[in-house]
Subunit: 539 residues, 2 copies
């Protein structure tokens, strides 16, 4: 017997209507490519998103048609977040930092029919234009410069407005968005988000123990909006009516701190490297950027070093850690102190905060080794598997990757974890980044986080490098802080108190920069390649 | 095209698993009928709820079978909240304060197959037993007294435990619970909640601008758990892992304050009369019950007078107002101050807080008069209509009430509202309680709330009484505070500054008590009947 409740679909149309009806005067602030600040509000978001929906239908958009988007973070990007799915289309956010061949592959694999692009990103479009087949191209004209041949103005296109526009009726399982994994191995693979998934994810991430968005918050969207729904922040902010601030291309160091301070930001996000850079500038000049009391930041994308959490705390920034993937919309776990941990000593608290925490409601986890589900002993490692209503069930037209799902329907994350007796997970490593040394596993992430806790170290990546005797041994690639001299012995000494001798890196190299992926993660594949011919001193 | 997300159902089975896995040591405290306090935890809830599921399946429970429950608020009631629906049954909470004929009608209409009853409530069972047909009866044995003929011990029944129990696979639309409206007119009507509705309701009500449950909260469940899922608090608390405290039958005045104080309660609920009584005791003895800073209370069920909000604030209790019905699971709207209202003068804030606010996400509202949807002008009145995923689509086997839904699928609430220009609704009255005086409408609720703001008044109800000239005129029925002498002239004077002359009550009667429904609302139908022969002085 079923309940007798209304069959009311969870769609983004509802969230857009809600925003227009109840939050019209709430602010939306964008920093444009030319650094100017533009102030808008939810009433404009409502009107312009619906105008976009209407324009798409006039252009012949059919249900499920993919609309590619090459954009920085700004108000127009938020419009397409709503305007495309509310018209029944699929918002396909594109990572403009990818190699043109990869980007063209993704546009073609997704069969994007239309494309919307910032004029500041026209070079990324030009680099793929001869390789893709797009029916129409609209350019968001920030600079006022003439449009390239074959491109139309986004502003002129949506100028007729939303008068007479009616939402098409949508099922909550209809596709709303699409994002390809940055995939360091193999072809990029597309994840197809449903309206339902985004709606439920918005509810869960706003819970008070997690991001706790309120109407009185001012949210800074630092993470790229082309990556996993911008970590869900834009949709969640619109659901709660929080003010939204977008940094455009200016997310590093001082420009970021300017926005945090001037726009009275209360919540933000971003990969650890963004916040390492910001803290570096803030520590040089602690009085220059007064921050809101209780400023909270979700950091994720790669493990957040305990040292970063502690440094940030001293500067008045509460860095919180979550874990997720493109395939999980993305938020799946979140780390916060349990009531009984509130009384713990600071160091013990920090140890808990540097874990990835426990699953949010309606997400389920397990970790599996060859011996089955691992015990909650804080030591045994197993592959993290996940399921839930906002977890991908398959990739878009990619049946050969179906082995990423178990026979009983869990997604194999490729992350290797241990689980403490209280259920807090710790990501030990990506399965492929684990260092296999003589039958034992060494976590590259643990070594990196420890190294980044040393005051001389700015960034550190550890990779397994082939070794004639041990199969692989760890090599540390270290970026030192300005003016610090290489200090391998001191760093090794620093590590010995925390790791067994056999876990220590056998060598360190000091470099000016670590290569990163387009979303700011260490590009370990490149480091492994670069050091694949490494000669071990005492091999 | 659909998204490619997992088909993961939103069920209470997930919430119970989550509770057992991650919140095992969190506390559950119950005050039993004999006043003793029993301390338990989520690990026990998990084990015992699953033991109950297993016992129900052994007893032959089929999908959708209704299990009636006659219980006070305590840990065993929470067990049945999970154990029944997680086994595929439907939890039918029964209001033991109803007249036996009405209760028997409800048990029979719902076709309850089994029944679980507190031994302290056996008299309510005995009063209907000859009129109903129940296959088996289990008694929760608090007193240790011998069980009546034909009853079995709940404790012995679930003693075999949950070993080997597997959840039956459930669709999220499966029925989880059932509650009959207290219906002051016509037959009681059953609302059938789905797992999905309860899950979504839990997510929405926990958002930070609403009840904001956190794992560190300690929640006191004052509202009867037989009424509209206990306002959703028990399910939401289990989802977030908050501690739960149950008062059993002891919810008035000092025993309530004892629990608030001793159990360090941070969140509670209850109809206005419960909190009026508690404040009365607290104000007599302000040092006796130290309360947690920031204690927040959801009050609803009838309009919350501004004077109560203000009085509570002075005692350190933050009373928040929501609006909902049995048919809406129940939370549909919530009142909190918008960011721009934080700077308003206190009186203006209070005016906003005494409204019922705006809808929570995924609930949609409109108000309709004979002229169509009413404008947001704060004056025009219209019937509130509502839709959303946790709003009833029909009553259980009651097709003749289908006119409670509009042709386009909205639920007619029977409440009459105005809507301010910011979207905040104000319940003017139940449609049937509006006083129709000479072609104009007078809100009985507005008069009552104003009267209850006078220091001499403890409670006040206003009803329309037949009048030869004006069709109806308002009569105020007033309970004065202890030791205060009747003061009609002074009260009329007090009202004249807020109401037009024609809106004022033409007469006042002073009584020791106002009759109330089983859930604490003024029983206006009885007052109207009682005063139907009223002789107006100057008619």
């Amino acid at each position: 017997m079923n309940g007798q409740m209304m069959d009311f679909p969870l769609t983004l149309q509802h969230l857009l209507e809600r925003a227009g009806k109840y939050f019209g005067s709430q602010e939306i602030v964008s920093r444009l490519p030319d650094q100017s600040l533009v102030r808008s509000n939810y009433a404009a978001l409502y009107r312009r998103s619906r105008a976009l929906s209407a324009a798409l239908l006039r252009a012949g958009l059919q249900r499920g048609d993919r609309v590619g988007v090459l954009m920085w973070n700004h108000a127009a990007h938020l419009e397409v977040y709503f305007g495309v799915p509310c018209a029944g289309g699929v918002l396909h956010t594109l990572n403009f930092r990818l190699h043109p061949d990869e980007l063209a592959y993704i546009v073609n694999h997704a069969r994007d029919r239309f494309l919307i692009v910032d004029d500041a990103l026209l070079p990324a479009l030009e680099a793929i234009r001869s390789k893709v087949n797009l029916e129409r191209l609209w350019v968001v004209p920030f600079s006022g410069q003439p449009l390239p041949q074959g491109c139309e103005s986004y502003e002129e296109w949506i100028a007729p407005g939303d008068a007479g526009f009616d939402y098409p009726a949508l099922d909550e399982n209809a596709a709303a968005g699409m994002c390809y994994t940055s995939g360091t191995t193999g072809k990029p693979k597309g994840v197809l988000y449903s309206h339902r998934a985004v709606a439920l994810h918005s509810l869960a991430m706003c819970l008070p123990d997690y991001m706790a968005f309120r109407e009185r918050d001012r949210v800074l969207q630092v993470s790229s909006m082309f990556h996993a729904n911008g970590w869900g922040f834009p949709y969640a902010a619109v659901m709660t009516g929080a003010a939204l601030v977008f940094p455009g291309p200016h997310v590093l160091g001082e420009p970021l701190l300017d926005l945090l301070s001037q726009e009275k930001i209360t919540v933000a996000n971003g990969v650890p490297t963004v916040w390492i850079t910001a803290l570096h500038a803030l520590e040089q000049n602690p009085e220059r950027w007064p921050l809101q009391a209780g400023l909270r930041v979700l950091s994720a994308g790669s493990a957040v070093p305990a040292s970063l959490i502690e440094r940030a705390r001293r500067s008045g920034i509460h860095i919180m850690q979550g874990w997720g993937m493109t395939e999980t919309t993305p938020l799946a776990t979140f780390s916060f102190l349990r009531p009984d941990m509130q009384q713990w000593p600071g160091e013990q608290q920090l140890e808990m905060q540097s874990r990835q925490g426990r699953p949010v409601p309606f997400v389920e986890l397990r970790a599996v080794s060859s011996a089955g589900e691992i015990p909650w002993d804080g030591r045994t490692l197993g592959e993290l598997q996940v399921r839930g209503p906002w977890v991908a069930a398959s990739y878009f037209e990619f049946p050969e990757a179906q082995d990423r799902w178990t026979a009983d329907g869990w997604f194999r994350t490729g992350d290797v974890v241990s689980i403490a007796d209280n259920g807090f997970i710790r990501i030990a490593d990506r399965a492929k980044d684990l260092i296999k040394s003589g039958g034992e596993w060494i976590s590259s992430v643990d070594l990196e986080n420890a190294l980044m806790g040393h005051p001389a170290v700015r960034e550190a990546a550890v990779v397994g490098v082939p070794h004639p005797k041990w199969a692989e041994r760890p090599l540390a690639v270290v970026v030192l802080r300005d003016g610090v001299a290489p200090c391998e012995t001191e760093l090794r000494e620093f590590l010995t108190s925390r790791f067994a001798r056999w876990q220590l890196p056998d060598a360190m190299v000091f470099v000016p920069e670590i290569p990163k992926t387009s979303v700011g993660k260490f590009l370990k594949a490149r480091l492994r390649e670069q050091y694949s011919g490494w000669k071990w001193g005492d091999a």
